[in-house]
């Protein structure tokens, strides 16, 4: 089971409204390389990991990704909370307002709704290669987002989340090497 702590994994204090950045970084919430997809991917794959190292790592990284989902939601909230309808329309997210008001909806940066686009094949090697690729893709998206802003309040969490992709990639790689040398 999961339990909640009333704090973020890394603090987010965005003071400046930025609707364009909200439109772009929503993809790391609900896009193909986003945190929601990562959380579900790992929490699904943990059941078919062949030993307890794999189960533990997929369980614990999957849990961490849920905390990243919350960080992305918080960023979107703080970037948009004082916006007028006019400003939302001007920034190209008027259609989010049509369906959801000031609430969130997980999409990519084009507004395409969240889809479970991750691969879980049940083949441990295929899944871990997938996970390593996914962490690399997410790292790249964070880098692209970092290139698009100068706001230190946004850069801090983006740089931090990007680094987590690197840490997870390395751990998945080590788990993969373990299975490669133990699988007959």
């Amino acid at each position: 089971m999961f339990s909640y702590q009333k704090r973020l994994m890394y603090p987010i204090n965005i003071k400046k409204k930025d609707l364009k950045m909200a439109k772009y970084l929503v993809t790391q919430y609900g896009g193909p390389n986003g945190e929601l997809n990562a959380a579900l991917r790992y929490l699904n794959q943990r059941y078919t990991m062949p030993d307890n190292k794999g189960k533990a790592l997929l369980n614990d990284i999957g849990t961490e990704e849920l905390s990243h989902v919350e960080m992305l939601q918080t960023m979107i909230y703080q970037l948009t909370k004082d916006a007028s309808v006019e400003e939302l329309i001007k920034a190209g997210i008027g259609s989010n307002y049509t369906e959801h008001g000031m609430s969130f909806f997980p999409t990519d940066s084009f507004g395409v709704p969240y889809q479970a686009t991750f691969e879980s094949t049940g083949d441990v090697l295929a899944d871990l290669y997938e996970d390593m690729a996914a962490e690399q893709k997410a790292r790249t998206v964070y880098e692209n987002l970092i290139d698009m802003t100068n706001d230190p309040d946004i850069l801090g969490p983006l740089l931090w989340l990007r680094q987590r992709e690197i840490v997870h990639f390395n751990l998945f790689k080590e788990l993969l090497e373990h299975y490669k040398s133990n699988l007959k």
Partner: protein
């Protein structure tokens, strides 16, 4: 067929597997730096271009305490992920236990002073129900 036999047959090794030996390449960072970087392992830290990781500036007692919790909790979590793979690394396990205890002590201190951070707190004494009446973490100001 029991589970271990199943694993032997289809994966080629029993569920317990062989312990992965310690990773001798590990160079740990301090909780202070590791938390800000998002990586407790100095040898795998990869900066992006010339960007420096951000410094955080907690301004009051509540923020300072929350910052300490974040640091030690993060350090515990990153060692947790490492230990998932390297279960027999005793020196990392001892450090994990130090950080875990420090985190728990700090959370207790925070809850005594500022109300529940966890629903399992012992500090929920009398009305109003503090869990639902103190602030939520998305409001800014170090998220307290």
């Amino acid at each position: 067929m029991n589970y271990n036999d199943f694993m032997e047959t289809y994966y080629g090794f029993p569920v317990a597997g062989e312990p992965i030996p310690s990773n001798n390449n590990v160079v740990l960072d301090s909780p202070d730096e590791g938390f800000l970087k998002g990586n407790m392992f100095k040898n795998t830290y990869e900066p992006y271009k010339n960007y420096q990781y951000m410094r955080l500036n907690p301004i009051n007692e509540k923020e300072k305490l929350l910052y300490e919790i974040s640091k030690y909790s993060f350090a515990t979590h990153d060692l947790n992920l490492y230990l998932d793979l390297y279960q027999n690394d005793n020196s990392i396990l001892m450090l994990f236990n130090d950080y875990r205890k420090k985190t728990n002590d700090l959370i207790n201190e925070y809850e005594t002073k500022f109300g529940p951070m966890t629903i399992s707190t012992d500090d929920e004494k009398g009305i109003p129900f503090k869990w639902a009446s103190n602030s939520f973490p998305w409001g800014g100001n170090m998220n307290v």
